[in-house]
């Protein structure tokens, strides 16, 4: 009974999604297809031949142009948008409401209204009908989306994870994994778009061990960020954070493609840690294997 319902629902969804593609495929393969006929009276590849042979150059250049346009727009959106999303997701500051309105409004106001105003000025600046101009116009929508989605991701994100990774001298790859583990696992936040638009993270490379990879300053801004939520500089908190990180529990989200847990072994080599000018841990070397629990208790 239950499985019957399940498969009916799944089939209905698949059919409904597939239905609009059916006439497109059929028409592209038909040569003659007059009214009452349910199938084309004459099949043929003329449309495809025209597309691939006669108009091939045009199609290829158009495809290349579109791909470049999308790639450049996405790249610029990410470079500019991720830091802003991070700022909005992690920090409370004066004027945040204004910044939020600035981010949300372009998502609500139709691009048509904005683009018509920009058009004349783009013509005068020589930007109209140029690659750069089209990227800029796309940014009016793509950048707010990026900021919005990243805002949702960072709102669910604990920057201490990065600190712990940084403090343990974990390389960039693992710090990123830990971070996406947190962000990916706790899906529905205040801004649910994040859960929708960010797919379950894939992790092609987990083998990078500690020390093999220079810590990326962008991913491990250790000690450079003034997080109002972090409670940094409180020895008790830091101690707890350290023991949590050293406790070797892989984040629940990401899995290796082979199904294994995130890390097999954690090695610390000549670790040093301190609060302000006071060193607490100096030259600590130890290794923790899979399944082993380990905690370092702070002073």
């Amino acid at each position: 009974m239950k499985t019957w319902r399940q498969s009916t629902l799944a089939a209905a969804i698949v059919l409904t999604v597939a239905l609009p593609f059916l006439p497109l495929v059929l028409w592209s393969l038909s040569q003659r297809w007059f009214f009452p006929g349910l199938w084309p009276q004459q099949w043929g590849l003329r449309a495809w031949q025209h597309l691939l042979a006669a108009a091939g150059g045009q199609v290829a250049s158009g495809l290349l142009q579109s791909t470049l346009l999308a790639a450049v727009t996405a790249a610029v959106s990410l470079v500019v948008g991720v830091p802003a999303g991070r700022a909005l997701g992690l920090y409370a500051f004066r004027g945040k409401t204004l910044a939020a309105v600035l981010v949300v409004l372009p998502l609500i106001v139709p691009p048509l209204s904005v683009a018509m105003g920009l058009h004349l000025w783009f013509i005068r600046l020589g930007l109209a009908e140029t690659f750069a101009g089209i990227v800029l116009v796309h940014l009016t929508v793509c950048l707010p989306y990026t900021v919005f989605v990243m805002w949702g991701v960072f709102a669910n994100y604990d920057p201490d994870v990065e600190d712990q990774a940084g403090g343990l001298e974990v390389g960039r790859g693992l710090a990123g994994d830990a971070a996406s583990g947190v962000a990916g696992h706790r899906g529905g936040g205040p801004l649910l778009l994040s859960a929708l638009l960010v797919p379950v993270p894939e992790h092609p490379d987990h083998r990078r061990g500690p020390g093999h990879d220079p810590a990326d300053p962008a991913f491990c801004p250790h000690g450079q960020r003034g997080s109002p939520r972090g409670g940094r500089g409180e020895p008790g908190f830091r101690g707890a954070g350290l023991s949590r990180a050293a406790g070797q529990r892989p984040p629940p989200g990401p899995r290796r493609p082979d199904g294994g847990a995130l890390m097999g072994e954690l090695r610390l080599e000549s670790l040093a840690l301190g609060y302000g000018p006071d060193p607490v841990v100096r030259d600590l070397t130890l290794s923790v294997t899979d399944g082993e629990m380990m905690s370092l208790l702070g002073p």
Binding site: Q6, L9, A10, I13, V17, L19, P20, F21, L22, P23, L24, L26, F35, G37, L38, V80, G81, P83, A84, R86, A87, L88, F93, L105, P106, L107, I108, V109, P110, P111, L112, S113, V114, G117, W121, R124, L136, T140, L143, G166, G167, E169, G187, G188, L192, L193, A195, L196, H222, G223, Q224, R225, G226, A272, G274, Y275, G276, D278, V280, R282
Partner: protein, 304 residues
Amino acid sequence: MVSGRKNGHDARTRAVPWNLRLAGLLAPALAVMILLFGGGLILGALQALGQLPGAGMAELTTAHFTRVITDPDFLTSLGLTFHIALTSTVIAAIVSVALALALTRWAVRIRLVHFVLQVPLTVPHLVVAVSMLFLLAPAGLIARLAAGAGLIASPGEFPLLVNDRWAIGILLVYVWKEIPFITLMVLSVLQNTGGELIEVGRTLKAGPWQRLRFILLPVIAPSLAAACLIVFAFTFGAFEVPYLLGRTYPMSLPVWAYRSYMDVDLAARPEGIAIGLIIALVVMGAVALSVWLNRLTAGRGSWR
């Protein structure tokens, strides 16, 4: 890399440049948005107010706006646009909630369904509009099926579903596109919290209707409302689908704006921009209204 010494150093200098760091994170994005989005609106408003740069019209005039608003077709177009946006949003929301509930309740293999549901998100509206034309037109695939079943004898007997009075073709495109969007938004909440709360409700002997009304709807309400707002704003302002599947008269507001802007008569351009700004105002007004309503009901606690 991170030694105790360096850590301490950073901790001491951190307090001062915090605002600067924040500004550094935010400024590039905000600058681009103010310049492109704000600039686009302001420059558009200037043109709609009669300031054609280079044309030497220095005086501000609201003539373009009044000409649009007093146009006998304006109210019809506004009504049509509201009909398209509201109807498609409401239908998509109802189907999406039912679909999300069914999917969680019957624990359908989520991975496959999630994948299939994401397909429509990636298909451009134009492609869907063209395929709807092939499906629903008087000589389309469905009409051929009806002819095969002996229901109609000629294409003329098939009910008009595209370029029709009630904008059925447009609504179908939007519903097909937006149901997956809203469903995925609702599903993400339901999967995180819905199940456990429903169990709690069951142990407290809540009936099915009570569980829906007092547990599920409040849980999904915020994300459902956000998704509906986005869908409404989009469908109110997009011109491609009504351009392709709508009637030539009356036009929806975005189609009217696009036609005026693209008119061979350059003097019609400010009018098109004025319509575009009116669309923007309506959409912003709708969003402000819903935010205000939300605050009102939130202040009252539970609404009954």
